[in-house]
């Protein structure tokens, strides 16, 4: 008996392994001289090194500690982000969503995977996954609870579906236990998931990896 995740499936086309296809596409374009030197490598570096949620965390920490900046971030997110030089591909028009004691904002892109890349980093697999895209618009409370983010019943959940060119970031509430912290200290508790809206910042949860 053979075992495979994929046997006996219908309706799926035969195809070469994805790595062969992906590189073949690049090599076929290269063979025609259509790819400027370093083009793919530069994007890869941008994605891996420049676009990180550490930028969004920096914005949040600033907003938590600077009321004038907070007002700007909420009234004209694009201008606020531009001050940092953090606008870029898939992050050219920014709106920050203000959590309050009664409203929790959550971001999704149900049609594909749009995300504010330059300030949140590229979206993680689960955010691009069908479970999240299908379910979070309709049952966000249940989805968040399954992810261990339980919200009080009197907090209304507002889901932002990123269906055009606006890119969102959540401005969460500053958690208890962070009184007197510097902006640098505060930024270390604002994770990628906090910026998407599926986690709440906590004085006890400190970022370990640049992509979170």
């Amino acid at each position: 008996m053979t075992l495979a995740a994929s046997q006996n499936r219908t309706g799926l086309p035969e195809q070469a392994p994805v790595e062969d296809r992906a590189w073949a596409l690049k090599n076929a374009l290269d063979a025609k001289g259509l790819i400027p030197a370093g083009f793919n490598e530069d994007w890869k570096k941008t994605f891996e090194e420049d676009y990180t949620p550490r930028r969004g965390a920096e914005l949040v920490a600033r907003a938590w500690t600077d009321p004038v900046f907070r007002d700007l971030l909420l009234s004209d997110g694009t201008a606020a982000v531009a001050q940092y030089g953090y606008l870029g591909a898939q992050g050219e028009y920014i709106r920050a969503l203000e959590d309050t004691p009664t409203v929790k904002n959550v971001i999704v892109c149900s049609l594909c995977s749009c995300t504010a890349w330059p300030i949140l980093g590229l979206p993680p697999s689960w955010y691009k996954g069908f479970e999240y895209r299908a379910r979070v618009v309709r049952e966000p409370r249940k989805v968040l609870a399954e992810m261990n983010t339980e919200l009080p019943a009197d907090v209304e959940i507002r889901v932002y579906d990123t269906t055009a060119e606006t890119r969102y970031m959540v401005l969460p509430m500053r958690p208890a236990g962070t009184e007197g912290w510097t902006a640098e200290e505060l930024a270390r508790i604002v994770t990628k998931d906090c910026l998407i809206g599926v986690a709440l910042p906590s004085a006890d949860v400190v970022v370990e990896h640049p992509n979170t």
Partner: protein
């Protein structure tokens, strides 16, 4: 198009495979994954196609193929489809270079459409209805809000090409602001929801005034 990519509100999916703040690893898991994005940007930079066309190409991947294909691979297929459709490469060249089959997205069944005439400008607080629209080409609204009434929360200060045109490589779509329209979740899903509201970012051409 009413494609399977339009997943919002679909029931029957299981748990999201993630715990809040759980590990997600590196940006790219495999060496080829960045090509899904960097090659589509090449196509845009070189002027072969628009990002809207990429979205449409990915939506045109056969439904079962789409739903069983990992994320970056879908963008490799989308970029490859457009490179072939635009005549940059031939499918034969691509498969020869691959050394095996390289199935592409299915052909478009629509030629796209121009900008809607008689659009209106709306202000924050206005009640708007998403048009009861059915169109086989690329659109950028989720079906769950079709025909539904919501309230304008924000009008963008920038404008962008109308996706129903740009997604088909047309130049007659003009440019429009979008509106962040807030819908009561009950308007969308009756009592079968635990959301308070859902805000959708909608091009002006998708909206009409509610008296």
């Amino acid at each position: 198009m009413d494609g399977v990519h339009d997943l919002a509100g679909k029931q029957g999916f299981g748990r999201v495979p993630h715990t809040a703040n759980g590990p997600i690893g590196d940006t790219f898991k495999y060496d080829w994954e960045h090509l899904g994005y960097s090659l589509l940007f090449l196509g845009v930079t070189n002027g072969y196609f628009t990002l809207d066309e990429v979205r449409h190409a990915v939506e045109r991947i056969e439904p079962r193929h789409y739903l069983t294909t990992p994320y970056y691979e879908r963008y490799v297929i989308g970029a490859a489809t457009l490179m072939v459709e635009k005549g940059v490469l031939t499918h034969d060249e691509l498969e020869a270079m691959t050394g095996g089959p390289f199935p592409l997205a299915l052909p478009a069944t629509s030629a796209g459409r121009p900008a809607r005439e008689n659009r209106e400008t709306f202000e924050v607080g206005d009640k708007v209805r998403v048009t009861d629209d059915h169109f086989a080409g690329h659109v950028r609204y989720p079906a769950f809000c079709r025909g539904k009434v919501g309230t304008v929360q924000h009008r963008t200060t920038q404008t962008w090409p109308f996706p129903d045109s740009a997604g088909h490589g047309r130049a007659d779509g003009g440019s429009e602001p979008t509106y962040h329209v807030e819908f009561d979740a009950a308007e969308l899903f009756g009592d079968d929801t635990d959301a308070g509201s859902v805000v959708v970012d909608l091009f002006e051409g998708y909206l009409e005034r509610v008296a």
